[in-house]
């Protein structure tokens, strides 16, 4: 199983995504933006690829745009 990351362009995006996923009990974690994917110094969402579809659905419902990476 691979780990995935969602990187948002603003703090508000991460906060909203985290709230929405928590509300739907989708496991995810807020982490510092991984250096290999971005030079931003803010927050990103980390989750298991098994919940990728659920996370993407939630983000779509919330009209949140994110950049996804797999490790």
């Amino acid at each position: 199983m691979r780990t995935m990351f969602a990187i948002f362009h603003s703090t508000r995006g991460v906060v909203r995504a985290n709230r929405a996923c928590t509300k739907k009990s989708i496991p995810c974690k807020v982490i510092p933006v991984p250096r290999e994917y971005s030079s931003e110094c803010g927050m990103a969402l980390e989750f298991d690829e098994t919940v990728e579809r659920e996370i993407k659905k939630v983000l779509e419902e919330e009209m949140l745009v994110a950049e996804f990476h797999k490790k």
């Binding site: 362009h9 603003s10 703090t11 508000r12 991460v14 906060v15 909203r16 985290n18 709230r19 807020v30 982490i31 510092p32 933006v33 971005s38 030079s39 931003e40 110094c41 803010g42 927050m43 990103a44």
Partner: protein, 374 residues
């Protein structure tokens, strides 16, 4: 206990107890900055700030929450918009009751950028004469500025009608005195820019405020710096809210505002009682009351001018004899006082809080009635 504080247009008092509690909670327990790094304190602090942004969008009645920007007060917000719009050699229409928060930045633009300014036609109480606004519009008119509720006589302007008349010309609405007192519907009114403060009608702490911007692309940021986003670039992010929020925000203050927004005080005094107060004082015979001609246009503040004594003398007598706290002078609004015929002497202003009761208004009324001879 009597509430004799009638200077809520300067800053509100008292605040809901939750304001101090939330500030203390942030300072003593939450801690953490906004949007930089990702440990629990940062997540909690960032989430708190974003909750306030959600609540402010609700208060302003706007759909685009991310277009609600935090700044330290309404003045900084006005300066951001006026300096960030390209207004070179343009014509600007302003309402007749503007505050120096608008007229001073405009004066700078007049000197530096060749901006010309006209005051919209109006009635004696300063209410904009909608029917005659259209004739003031020029090809070069790029902005219309409206003070929603005067900080001198409390007149509420018909902003929706102004926007209808000026059409596509952007409108900047100053909500410093109105937000929290009267309903605001920025999307319905199609307002382009609106500035607000947290410490007046919203009953939050000073050092909080901000603005709504319908199209963030139209305005360059006033302050540049770190945002936690797009850190690889020397340029500011192009998207809101980050574009306008460089540097660490006033997180403690924003938490205080959260306490205020979640615990609003229902107005204790009756509108009828307020209008009776205005009518009684107006009929005293020894003062002129600065108020709206139509009671439906009256906000929660008014001023008076004594026929015999200057305004500072009246404010001092009210405080010494009755502990009534007011503000005398020009209220940083020389244009408004010029419009109302009270420049340069000014007036004594009384501004209400939702915490005032009918009995507080009776006390104020009786005190003013005794001021014929001091």
């Amino acid at each position: 206990m009597k509430n004799t504080y009638f200077d809520n247009a300067a800053t509100s008092f008292p605040k809901p107890p939750a304001v101090a509690e939330m500030i203390t909670t942030y300072l003593n327990a939450v801690g953490g900055t906004y949007g930089r790094s990702a440990y629990q304190r940062v997540i909690d602090a960032s989430s708190g700030v974003e909750t306030v942004r959600d609540l402010m969008a609700e208060k302003l009645q706007v759909e685009h929450v991310e277009h609600v920007i935090f700044s330290f007060n309404a003045t900084t917000a006005i300066n951001t918009i006026l300096s960030g719009l390209n207004l070179n050699n343009s014509h600007i229409l302003i309402s007749p009751l503007e505050h120096n928060a608008v007229t001073r930045p405009l004066e700078i633009l007049r000197g530096k950028c060749g901006v010309t300014i006209d005051i919209m036609p109006h009635f004696p109480d300063g209410r904009i004469d909608i029917d005659n606004v259209k004739s003031m519009i020029r090809d070069t008119t790029k902005l219309v500025i409206v003070n929603h509720q005067s900080n001198v006589n409390g007149v509420i302007q018909p902003v929706d009608k102004v926007k209808n008349v000026v059409g596509g010309i952007p409108v900047l609405l100053d909500l410093a005195q109105s937000l929290g007192h009267i309903p605001v519907k920025l999307d319905e009114w199609n307002i382009d820019f609106a500035v607000f403060t947290g410490h007046k009608g919203l009953l939050g702490p000073s050092g909080t405020g901000g603005f709504f911007i319908r199209n963030p692309d139209l305005v360059d940021p006033l302050v540049a710096g770190g945002t936690g986003s797009r850190s690889e670039s020397y340029e500011m992010p192009s998207f809101a809210p980050d574009k306008f929020e460089a540097g660490t925000p006033n997180i403690a203050g924003i938490y205080g505002l959260l306490g205020a927004l979640k615990n609003p005080c229902k107005r204790q005094y009756k509108q009828q009682k307020y209008i009776e107060l205005l009518d009684t004082i107006s009929s005293c015979g020894f003062v002129k009351v600065l108020r709206a001609t139509d009671k439906n246009d009256q906000g929660d503040l008014f001023s008076l001018v004594h026929h015999r004594y200057d305004c500072s003398h009246i404010a001092s007598a009210l405080y010494t004899k009755y502990a009534i706290e007011t503000r005398s002078g020009l209220h940083c609004a020389p244009l408004a006082h010029t419009t109302l015929g009270t420049f340069p002497n000014g007036s004594v202003r009384f501004s209400l809080s939702p915490y005032h009761t009918d009995s507080d208004l009776d006390f104020l009324c009786n005190a003013i009635k005794k001021l014929e001879y001091i």
